[in-house]
């Protein structure tokens, strides 16, 4: 077992993991209260994978991930307020309320998203790395994705390109043993994912994703080989998500005992215990990390809730980067329908404004009649899950 780092680093690792855990729990609660909508994918159980990785990255390095990345952004330094505000769909969210849980982004911290399409981030990671190499910069791109994503065509194509062009990139498979409701043995012929890219020229290692120090060590080595030798590698981090795939998952595909077994290896508990036993941290500091997380997350909820909704006249903003010569129709404002060039709609026509307001008002309307939750079996389908809000999850995805 690799040695523990110094006390300050250990505290930081513990505090970061505790913050992400607490954030995710609260996100789940806010979703139940219908403060957050859409899909909500929580990374509870996978904190060591995330924090172990980011803890050894440089500020200039890029991180790119999936739709399960609230924690990744927070680990990179994004304010939890901004992530929570995004879940609430507010202007102070990381994407101004346009992206939601699946599309977190923080350019300033080089957290490059947040993508809802499985495997969509892999080629983009290659491109980020290509640009760093092209410009002669030292940055490494760390690309994280799931076991399920390793079956996407993008996986093989990206591995080949990374190896062929010796890109400064590190691939990290967060193997939580399931792609949605399909167990790895049922979705991948090669279940040792560390081997899956070897034939393409990207060698891999497999490590325990519940051990934050093991992740740190492996990622350090991977970053070094990418940065110093321009050698892309892959790390398979074996981890586990305690919660369902997203909020409405009845988890018919796995046994309760299996979840319990993994919970006993909890990455935060086990790391705290280890630090205390080794005398690096005291019980008081462990408690302090928890309390700090609690305070930060509660403040994040308050700040998110205080943030305004995006104004309707920003609908077309950022659709195009506008130049001095906007000729022709860029977009149609279907509400007028006037040609639209993506400019701020300060002088949106009166009728268009009325119709936009009329549409937006449906956000307050309770859906009439039954809105079944497909993730619940049989008769339970007649009830709208346990959510109190107006928009119960329609599907599990």
């Amino acid at each position: 077992m690799p040695d523990l780092p110094d006390a300050a680093t250990c505290y930081e690792l513990l505090a970061r993991m505790a913050l992400i855990r607490r954030f995710e729990e609260e996100a789940g609660r806010q979703y139940q209260r219908a403060k957050a909508g859409g899909f909500l994918h929580l990374a509870i159980g996978e904190e060591a994978t995330i924090v172990g990785t980011t803890s050894v990255m440089r500020d200039e390095d890029f991180l790119i991930g999936t739709y399960r990345t609230h924690g990744h952004a927070i680990a990179r330094g994004t304010e939890p307020n901004a992530v929570m505000a995004e879940l609430f769909g507010r202007v102070d969210g990381t994407s101004g309320g346009r992206g939601g849980s699946m599309h977190i982004f923080d350019a300033a911290r080089r957290f490059m998203g947040g993508y809802g399409i499985v495997g969509g981030n892999l080629p983009i990671a290659a491109g980020l790395a290509l640009a760093s190499q092209y410009k002669g910069e030292d940055a490494v791109t760390v690309c994280m994705f799931g076991d399920g994503a390793s079956n996407a065509g993008n996986f093989g194509e990206t591995m080949n390109l990374a190896a062929l062009w010796t890109l400064p990139i590190l691939f990290l498979v967060e193997n939580n043993l399931y792609g949605m409701g399909t167990a790895i043995e049922r979705h991948s012929a090669q279940t040792d994912l560390s081997k899956k890219a070897e034939g393409y020229g990207v060698p891999g290692t497999r490590i325990d994703g519940m051990d934050v120090i093991a992740v740190r060590e492996a990622v350090s080595a991977g970053l070094r080989s990418a940065r110093e030798e321009e050698r892309p590698t892959l790390i398979e981090v074996v981890t586990y998500r305690y919660r369902g795939h997203s909020a409405a998952d009845p988890e018919v595909y796995r046994e309760r005992e299996e979840v319990e077994e993994w919970r006993r290896r909890d990455p935060i508990e086990s790391f705290a215990r280890r630090c205390v036993e080794a005398g690096v941290l005291g019980e008081r500091e462990v408690g302090q990390a928890r309390e700090a997380a609690e305070a930060t997350v509660l403040a994040a909820v308050e700040l998110a809730d205080a943030s305004p909704e995006p104004p309707l006249d920003t609908m077309y903003e950022s659709l195009y980067a506008l130049t001095d010569y906007p000729g022709g129709w860029y977009a149609v404002d279907e509400r007028s329908p006037e040609p639209h060039r993506g400019e701020h709609e300060a002088d949106m026509p009166e009728r268009a404004r009325e119709l936009a307001e009329a549409g937006a008002a449906y956000a307050e309307v309770e859906e009439e009649g039954e809105r079944p939750n497909p993730a619940l079996a049989g008769d339970a389908q007649d009830h709208t899950a346990s959510r109190t809000g107006p928009d119960p999850e329609e599907r599990e995805d």
């Binding site: 995004e86 507010r90 346009r98 992206g99 499985v118 495997g119 659709l319 119709l355 079944p372 497909p374």
Partner: protein
Amino acid sequence: MAELRMREALRDAMAEEMRRDESVFVMGEDVGVFRGAFKVTDGLLDEFGERRVRDTPISENTIVGAGVGAAMNGLRPIVELMTVNFSLLALDQIVNHAAAIPYMFNGQAKVPMVIRMPGGGGHQLGPTHSHSFEALYLQVPGLLVACPSTPGDAKGLLKSAIRDDNPVVFIEHESLYGVRGEVDDGGEELVPFGEARVRREGSDVTIVGILKMANVAMEAAETLAREHGVEAEVIDPRTLRPLDLDTILGSVAKTNHAVIVEEGWPHGGVGANLSALITEQAFDDLDAPPQRVTGADVHMPYSKRLEQAAIPHQEHIVSAALATLEGART
């Protein structure tokens, strides 16, 4: 007749056809053990087993491509893509292969397969999970495109699609899965492709709506009658390829006004296509230009208010209908 939800009607269509024809099978992501992302395939694995209900890896292009190959070799695959959004990853197999093969090999091969995919917005799923691609598939020669709005039509059309010898893109709307309606449970009540359904008769304005927008058009028609004394005729084409243009033109000949409603983007949309066809074929019948009601020309925002502002509602349809009756552009 039985009252069923749309998801049950679709499942029954598949189950009945699988019982009837051993060559029909289902494959897709999480269609088996997980019972489908929207529980449309619920129960199929239990009844038909893993040979005929196949969970696949997350490999959309390959799943569709394998369906194409299986269809060329005598089977009738039903491929479920979890949502239309992910069908973009399979666009190569759908357009360059499934749709092109019968034509480019001069009829030596056929591709009898159904590619089912749910879409639409309204659930705060944001820019990558809320698409409406009826227009995209409508554009491709060689494909049939179905887009049912009621459980009864969904079942009858899906059965027709499975028996058809062409590749069918079968588009479902996520908001309609829980909607109940009368469904034939006899098993032989097929809904033919290329036959529109007049959902409401009226003499003042023709409103064509697809998928969920057919239902929203019905609401708008009631409002128009109640508040404005306008009688709208509401038509659901049910299939976009082939298209029952005769029914639409017949209605326009009667009402002299047309409104087309869809959830998708305005440029090159279903409404753009239909209003061109109506204008070309029935210019003399029109008293005013056709009006289009579409989703906003943006990637679906997550914020609930922005999203609702980006989706057509009955207010938009009422407004468009009144505008065309006034003979003015809005």
